[in-house]
Amino acid sequence: MPLGLLRYGLRKKYPAKPWFPAETPLKSNYDIVIIGGGGHGLAIAYYLAKEWGISNVCVLEKSWLASGNTARNTTIVRSNYLTPEGVAFYEESRRLYEELAGELDINLMYSARGHLTLAHTDAAMRTSRWRAEVNKHLGVDSELVDCAELAEICPHLNLSRTIRYPILGALYHRPGAIVRHDAVAWGYARRAMELGVEIHQHTEVTGFDIQAGQVNTIHTSRGAVSAGVVVQAVAGLSSEVARMAGLRLPIRSIPLQACVSEPLKPFLDPIIVSSSLHAYVSQSARGELVMGGSTDPCPLYSTRSSLEFSEGLMSHMLELFPFLARAKMMRQWAGIADMTPDFSPVMGETPLQNYYVDAGWGTWGFKATPICGKSMAELLATRKLPDIIAPFSLDRFDRFEQLGERGAASVGH
């Protein structure tokens, strides 16, 4: 019996300290207001305070901390994208993730398991080869592997030739990892607060006062606030918040469901993605299979779960791992993905002088948390657009300069 641990817990010498103190009143003015207390908003706050010494910042979160897509994603970190701009961006994020636990002093359970994007058609093999070459060219560890190598990397994978969509090979991205999503948000939040940032939960933005192309006042459910600079980082609700600022975005909000199985003995080392089968899976440190598929068929502002999703996903999951037929599903949930036409984010300036946007994160937002925080903080602090996010500007659509990442961003397209 762990008596030492029991004694530690009961001694007055080590009182439990709440990480996020009780509600405090809003000040009337801040240098920077961040709308949205998810991973991105909190990361922006942290880097503003840490790298730029700007701590007169407040984060406004309408619900409980990081309860949106940060709580609902399937925790994958990777940089095996298709475009050079995308690869550079996500690789920088992955590098930041590797060192993040130490920087935030929190157990992120970051685990580089390896990431396999299965190819079931010749076309998919060609795209995988293309991605591998772009990745290698930019110093990212990805390569095309055949079935013999797949059998060694993931022995339990169904490599039968007599199923509907036999696996022909895969894009193998060794640095692909999983991480504890809640801890990422808590780590950024705690550090930001230690540096003087204010985080206000259950504080909903209800409108803006705009004069001469600038946001002067932000109205919230707990009072009005003025700020020098405002940024919105609200994922699925991006269009609704932008509407309050008189802006339209190239975004549609579509539910993305996910589910988790009962805990199973560890058998799956790598993260498996199959675009053709609209399915992806990883096994968490608790032994649960975290599974997801394609987005819902139409826009909806709801995080309800549907039977169609789990029926469809399980039928494909059993093609990959037939022995899971008797495993039980434990929980199903959804986030609201802010999808863009080119499957790349919308980051940076808006037509309003002091209003910035971090949106269009669709199904690819969680892996970008650190680099988003860092680059948006630089933008807010310097009011100059960092090169690494210039390709993601809102006005790229005016110029028909989409950054197409549909093939690499997700499944089921």
């Binding site: 269009s239 339209r248 068929p297 826009p299 909806l300 502002y301 709801s302 659509f397």
Partner: protein
């Protein structure tokens, strides 16, 4: 939204249908590039009642659904003919 009352085929399983985007009138042929890019890329994405194009995939039949995007309730299904005869031409 589990059953959609298709104007042509009657009540059918929602999985038989494909979402086809918000109902938006195309800009005129003399529209600017900006108006065209706005039309192609921008969306209202309203958390409320929206008129949407839907297609019954088995019969390739296109029609309009007025749907509440927060409750997922279908307010009405409307044939394109009825919908556009009610809207004055530009």
């Amino acid at each position: 939204m589990k059953i959609i009352n298709c104007p042509l085929n009657g009540p059918r399983n929602a999985q038989e249908f494909v979402y086809g985007g918000e109902v938006v009138l195309e800009p005129g042929t003399d529209a600017s590039t900006q108006e065209w890019s706005n039309f192609i890329f921008l969306e209202d994405n309203l958390a409320g009642v929206v008129d949407e194009w839907w297609c019954h995939s088995a019969s390739s039949y296109w029609f309009i659904i007025r749907r509440n995007r927060t409750s997922d309730e279908i307010i009405a299904t409307i044939t394109a003919k009825d919908y556009f005869s009610a809207v004055p031409s530009p």
